[in-house]
């Protein structure tokens, strides 16, 4: 699997799904139309920052709160390449993997990156690198079926190929 390379968009701890996409927009069944509201409660400049840097690097408990899959969907649709965080809320993590968005747990991610630093995520070699500061963080192996779902590009493709669990 190819590595993901980009630059870091820094966010803090406990980024909740209401911050990512407020509930009032969830009545739309067209999730691609939601990108204009991405992170608007939390940081109105987010969309502008995302033009420069497309790999989110965050602290603890990323994606806590609601189970709304619209949260990772809207991040992905807005152009986020991957999310590196110290850990993820479990539903958000599963949702991200299921829609084929890389969610990677990396210890000390927050203190290892500044906004704009180069990021290289390498799932095969189990590492996340800060290309600007020369820091390398080892990451844990993905368990199955998480790795296979990710490699398939999400749960829809995984199940279609496999036919069952």
């Amino acid at each position: 699997m190819n590595a993901i390379v980009g630059t870091a968009l820094k966010l803090g701890d406990d980024i909740d799904t209401d911050a990512i996409i407020p509930a009032r927009y969830l009545t739309s069944m067209d999730t691609s139309s939601l990108t204009e509201h991405v992170m608007e409660n939390f940081d109105p400049t987010f969309k502008m920052r995302l033009r420069e840097n497309r790999i989110i690097v965050a602290g603890r408990n990323f994606g806590c709160g609601s189970s709304r899959e619209h949260a990772p969907l809207v991040l992905k649709a807005a152009g986020v390449q991957a999310i590196v965080a110290e850990n993820f809320a479990r539903i958000f993590f599963r949702n991200s993997i299921n829609i084929g968005l890389f969610a990677v747990e990396a210890p000390n991610a927050s203190s290892s990156f500044n906004e704009g630093d180069g990021v290289r995520i390498d799932i095969d070699h189990l590492e996340v690198r800060n290309l600007t500061r020369g820091i390398c963080i080892s990451i844990k192996e993905f368990s199955e079926p998480v790795l296979s779902i990710l490699k398939a590009g999400g749960l829809v493709r995984y199940l279609k190929a496999k036919g069952e669990w």
Binding site: D14, A19, A23, N61, S66, E69, R94, V156, L159
Partner: protein, 418 residues
């Protein structure tokens, strides 16, 4: 094995499981609502499935934005009604026929002890109050279950929360769970199962227990659950529902045990904008409020309406404050009418609306304007949760919300308790 491990072992047809193992389980019940449901159905079709695996194991409950407040919302319900009809799903609760999903699953005996309950909503863990292993998932996961009836789980380690002593009103299980979350933290139980036990818990009704398990997800937990006991048996007996009961082994291995003494717990509040930003109500007394909300899957039950009414009865809420009351289900609404609670609440100045999640997540029936402050019995106080991004939410018990509505500012309920 702990209760969670036993349930997961049974559902994956294994003799035993241990934390960290990945198991594939048969799902006993899948719940969808009108917000996450349509996306699940779209993905279900995209996956190439035609028929749900077992229509009797699927529940569709409209609750987030009912009655629909706009065309989009009405379209979502129309879409789901058509799916329900096409698939022959009988457990369908439309507007005015059910209420908040997590309440319905327990109230109607749909979520059973020892079963695996999955819902496309994060507060599905509420059903752990009857000893189910109940977890929230996203729409794609729900779609896969609709098609296959199965889901993979990483067996969680279990954290045991022991609450000793007796809970004395106006302190309630909401104060206890806020105290627990304050100590454990918003990510302190990440990926874990949280098992509540102890003298205080065994004396609680099912409705009161649901407030505990409901908020397990607010400390990151995969689920929160309570071992079935006499109270649980009576609940299902009254519904004529047969149950099978699993319990934790005496020598079960817990990752940790945290003890709480209910005698030491003061009225608690989670200040903006994190659920673990917990303090004593007396520390923020006097903070001006614009709105008070009594309802949600956390605190919209009879126990909650009764204690709030006891404080509000014969008094008028502050002239500046709106008090919103949303009973958690139509059954509760009706019982509250029969007990005379609704009349007393209306006399105090409350706007009593139909069961919905609406106000809790800023969808409908009570959205906040810029800079407004709400004290709420719900479960989340994130930035902009209930409305405009500068609005603020304090989370507290029904008693504290009622007392604060009277005073127009955050108020210790003991000031109105005699």
């Amino acid at each position: 094995m702990t209760l969670s491990e036993k349930i997961l072992a049974r559902a994956s047809s294994r003799s035993s499981v241990s934390p960290g193992e990945i198991v594939t389980c048969d799902i006993d019940l899948l719940m969808l609502h009108e917000i996450t449901g349509p996306l699940a159905v779209q993905v279900f079709e995209e996956m190439g499935f035609k028929k749900v695996w077992r229509s009797e194991k699927v529940a569709v409950i409209f609750d987030h934005n009912i009655p629909p407040s706009d065309v989009n919302s009405a379209q979502q319900m129309k879409f789901m009604r058509s799916f329900v009809q096409k698939q022959g799903i009988e457990r369908f609760y439309d507007v005015g026929r059910g209420g908040i999903a997590h309440q319905i699953l327990v109230q109607e005996g749909v979520a059973k002890p020892s079963s695996i309950v999955v819902g496309a909503d994060s507060h599905t863990c509420t059903a752990g109050a009857v000893g189910a292993f109940a977890v929230g998932v996203g729409s794609t996961e729900a779609a896969a279950i609709l098609g296959t009836g199965k889901m993979w789980f990483k067996v969680p380690s279990t954290v045991r929360i022991k609450v000793v002593g007796e809970v004395k009103e106006p302190i309630t299980s909401k104060d206890i769970i806020l105290e627990v979350i304050g100590r454990i933290g918003a990510s302190g139980a990440l990926y874990k199962a949280v098992e509540f036990s102890g003298e205080a818990v065994s004396k609680m009704s099912i409705g009161t227990r649901m407030t505990l398990t409901n908020m397990a997800v607010e400390m990151g937990a995969k689920t929160g659950l309570i071992e079935p006991d006499e109270v649980t048996r009576k609940h299902f007996q009254s519904l004529n529902e047969h149950i099978e009961v699993l319990t934790s082994d005496k020598d079960a291995s817990y990752e940790q045990t945290q003890r709480f003494n209910s005698f030491e717990i003061e009225p608690k509040i989670a200040a903006p904008s994190a659920v673990d930003n917990v303090m004593d109500v007396k520390d923020v007394e006097g903070e001006r409020i614009d709105q008070a909300f009594l309802g949600s899957c956390t605190n919209g039950r009879m126990e909650d309406l009764r204690i709030a009414t006891r404080i509000l009865e014969g008094r008028r809420i502050h002239s500046r404050v709106r008090l919103l009351v949303n009973p958690a289900s139509m059954k509760i609404y009706k019982q509250a009418v029969q007990e005379g609670l609704i009349e007393k609440l209306v006399n105090s100045g409350a706007a009593v609306c139909c069961p919905t999640c609406g106000p809790c997540l800023g969808m409908s029936q009570g959205v906040l304007a810029a800079d407004e402050v709400c004290i709420s019995t719900s479960n989340r106080n994130f930035v902009g949760r209930m409305g405009e991004r500068s609005s603020k939410v304090y989370l507290a018990s029904p008693a504290t919300v009622a007392a604060s509505a009277l005073a127009g500012e955050i108020t210790d309920p003991r000031r109105f308790w005699n």
